[in-house]
């Protein structure tokens, strides 16, 4: 409940208004309920009591008066006449006169003599009627009539003459009683009754009144009822008015809340709140709208800026992509300028010489010289404006300049590499020719001498040595040139279908003399390669196999060399196993490096260029094969494993 109240201003206002209407009513009702009635009742009580008292006095004085009058009467001498006759009309007339006291129910006065005979009466009706003496009491009440009897005495000798009787209907006392007070014979006191005992003749009687609360309070109740009805209407009125007022407060708030929610969810900052009131809520709505408008403007401006920057970024990236593909400095500059002109709103140019008459902001372009590492001024970009708009723009243009220069550097670098590469290739091919020519002469003449001239053994020996040395030199040259060609990517690969077994046999044929020279055993292990045809470059294939075989033979002084070829799972595995001087584990990595020949205790100067394995590896790479060298260690032989993948 508390939560509900805390959350709803509307509810609080409504309750406040209603309470303002209810509370007075409540207080009034409370008062009447607890104190009012009691007060009123008590007031009434007091009033009635007074009245009763008053009545009592009146009644008693009346009775007393009656008694006095009777007493007076009784002392009249006329009554002496009573004994004279049966009925005394004079006394009757007197009595009749006296009885006319103008009360409602007539008073009966009559005189009764000693014998009990009525001798005079105020009413002719009861003349001649016998009189029963009921009691000796002076007063008694019977049938709501007060009987008063006074003894009559003669005025002469005070002899008892009889009695003077009065019958006074108690009814007559009603004149002394206000409405709510009644006369009755004494009863047991009731709770709601208030009694006033009478004295004297009426001592057996009492006055009593009931305070009829209902009727007493009837007025109050009526008033309260009236009040309640008024209150009902009042409450309804309050309710409607308060609702209206509350609405006038809450509705603008709700409208604002809703508008805010909508703006948040739809991000539509152009939404406005409608409110035509000119009071505080109107002002609130107006300010809200202005706030939204400000925010909207700011966001739009930000978005525009963002979009602008994004566009710039894209354009810049686009420009860089373009110039990245160019291979020419001039193109690079021109395209850059062209693209830049689209990106920045100013005229921009490239000038080599800053001393010309261009005006504007100069952005220097620096190149890094490869060899010296120095920054060299390449030229300037000139932007036709007086100064930069802001720091960002300056930074932007500087970055652009740097990137352009990066591309230029790259282009120059590529050019240089290409020309260096071209120079190298040319050199190599030139050298190839240059080197071979003299060698041709040396080898040729040596061979000639041995073949055609008469020489003694010693001379032949010398010349053969010359020839061998030349051939060795030739091999070195060939290896160098081959490696260079492979590295330069200039080796020509002619793929054809080769008969594996045939080629391997050729390689064996070529190298087996070398093995025989060293008295080494030569073993062939061919498995599943009988009709195997492989697609590769025949020349290179031969070259690598021969290379590996001659290497194995070279580094084996005793034992055997085995050529193992296996075709399994679509792969061709060729292994050259020797029982030679082996390779230290640590050296296994180095072995493929060009010009490395491993120093080994047992190895004397080995023939070989040191390029053999390096070249083999290059050839393997070219043929899309893997070459691995394995050895258990020194003197434990080695294995060259060549794996051809499909």
């Amino acid at each position: 409940m508390i939560q509900l109240l805390r959350r709803s201003l509307q509810l609080r206002l409504l309750i406040a208004f209603l309470l303002m209407g209810i509370i007075p009513y409540l207080f009034i009702m409370l008062y009447f309920t607890y104190w009012g009635s009691a007060n009123i009742i008590e007031q009434q009580n007091i009033r009635y009591a007074l009245q009763a008292e008053q009545s009592k006095q009146l009644i008693q004085s009346r009775i007393e008066q009656l008694v006095r009058e009777m007493q007076f009467l009784s002392q009249l001498e006329i009554f002496d006449e009573m004994i004279a006759l049966d009925v005394d009309y004079r006394i009757s007339r007197l009595l009749e006169k006296k009885s006319k006291i103008g009360e409602k129910s007539p008073l009966l006065l009559y005189a009764v003599d000693e014998k009990g005979e009525i001798i005079a009466s105020s009413s002719s009706k009861i003349l001649h009627q016998p009189y029963k003496i009921k009691t000796t009491e002076a007063f008694y009440i019977e049938d709501k009539v007060l009987h008063v009897s006074l003894a009559l005495y003669s005025s002469f000798d005070s002899r008892s003459l009889g009695y003077l009787l009065a019958e006074y209907p108690l009814e007559n006392l009603k004149q002394f009683l206000p409405e709510n007070i009644s006369l009755r014979a004494s009863l047991l006191r009731g709770e709601k009754e208030h009694t006033f005992k009478l004295e004297g003749a009426l001592k057996s009687y009492e006055l009593f009144y009931r305070v009829d609360e209902k009727s007493e309070l009837a007025f109050i109740h009526q008033f309260m009822l009236y009040l309640s009805i008024v209150f009902m209407f009042g409450i309804m009125l309050i309710y409607f008015i308060s609702r209206r007022l509350t609405y006038q407060i809450i509705q603008p708030i709700a409208a604002l809340t809703q508008a805010a929610e909508e703006i948040i969810s739809t991000k539509n900052y152009d939404l406005r709140v409608q409110n035509s009131a000119i009071d505080e809520t109107g002002t609130l709505a107006l300010m809200f709208n202005r706030l939204t408008a400000t925010a909207s403007e700011a966001l739009k401006s930000l978005a525009r800026e963002n979009s602008f920057r994004m566009q710039r970024f894209i354009d810049l990236t686009d420009m860089l992509n373009h110039i990245a593909r160019l291979e020419n400095e001039a193109d690079c500059i021109n395209v850059s300028i062209e693209k830049l002109r689209a990106i920045i709103p100013y005229e921009i140019n490239f000038i080599e010489d800053a001393s010309t008459h261009h005006k504007g902001v100069f952005i220097p372009l620096y190149l890094t010289d490869f060899s010296s590492g120095e920054h060299v001024l390449y030229g300037h970009l000139v932007v036709k404006k007086d100064a930069y708009d802001d720091e960002d723009e300056e930074r932007f243009l500087s970055s652009v300049a740097a990137m352009i220069m990066l591309q230029i550097e790259r282009i120059l670098l590529i050019k240089e590499i290409k020309s260096a590469s071209a120079a190298k290739s040319d050199f190599i091919s030139g050298m190839s020719h240059e080197l071979r020519t003299p060698l041709n002469a040396i080898i040729g003449f040596s061979q000639y001498l041995v073949a055609y001239e008469e020489l003694n053994d010693e001379q032949i020996d010398i010349i053969v040595k010359i020839e061998k040395a030349s051939v060795h030199l030739l091999n070195i040259i060939n290896d160098i040139l081959d490696i260079s060609k492979i590295e330069a990517g200039k080796i020509e690969v002619h793929v054809s279908n080769i008969l594996v077994q045939g080629i391997l046999q050729e390689c064996v044929d070529i190298t087996i003399p070398l093995a025989k020279e060293k008295s080494l055993a030569f073993y062939l292990e061919f498995e599943s390669i009988d009709d195997l045809v492989w697609r590769t470059d025949a020349k290179l294939f031969k070259q690598i196999i021969i290379n590996l075989l001659s290497n194995a033979i070279k580094f084996t002084n005793e034992g055997s060399v085995t050529l193992n070829a296996v075709y399994k799972e679509d792969k061709l595995l060729i292994t050259v196993i020797d029982t030679g001087i082996g390779i230290k584990k640590e050296s296994l990595d180095m072995i493929f490096d060009a010009f490395t020949q491993l120093k080994n205790a047992k190895s004397t100067h080995q023939k070989g260029t040191g390029l053999g394995l390096s070249l083999s590896r290059h050839i393997a790479q070219t043929l899309n094969a893997e070459l691995v060298l394995e050895s258990e260690g020194e003197d434990k032989g080695s294995r060259a494993i060549l794996l051809f993948n499909p």
Binding site: H433, L439, A441, I443, Q447, E492
Partner: protein
């Protein structure tokens, strides 16, 4: 037979060997001289170097085949051994290709083969 090569030493070696084999050997320095000589005399075999000044081997071979319409065997002898050159030489009309430096035996073998 005619040996065409710009290097004197190369010509010398071949001359000596072939003479010893009992052949009649003549020499030319470049393709142009070779053509002159061929147009004047009859030769049984031409050993043509490829890299020569004035007129190189390719041009000479082409000229021999198409202009002079000589049908004698031509062996190209060259230090360059690219497949490209081999193909080109053969396409122009060479019959064999020898790579320098050549083994004595190989050269003799080729010559003898071609003369048959």
């Amino acid at each position: 037979m005619l040996i065409v090569d710009d290097e004197v030493m190369n010509r010398d070696v071949m001359h000596k060997i072939l003479s010893k084999e009992g052949m009649d050997v003549y020499e030319a320095e470049n393709g142009r001289i070779a053509l002159d000589m061929i147009s004047q005399d009859k030769f049984d075999l031409v050993l043509m170097d490829l890299m020569m000044p004035v007129m190189d081997g390719f041009e000479a071979i082409e000229a021999i085949r198409s202009k002079l319409k000589e049908k004698m065997p031509i062996i190209t002898v060259s230090a360059t051994n690219s497949a490209e050159n081999i193909t080109r030489a053969k396409a122009l009309g060479a019959d064999e290709y020898l790579m320098k430096p050549y083994h004595l035996m190989t050269m003799l073998e080729t010559v003898k083969r071609v003369l048959k």
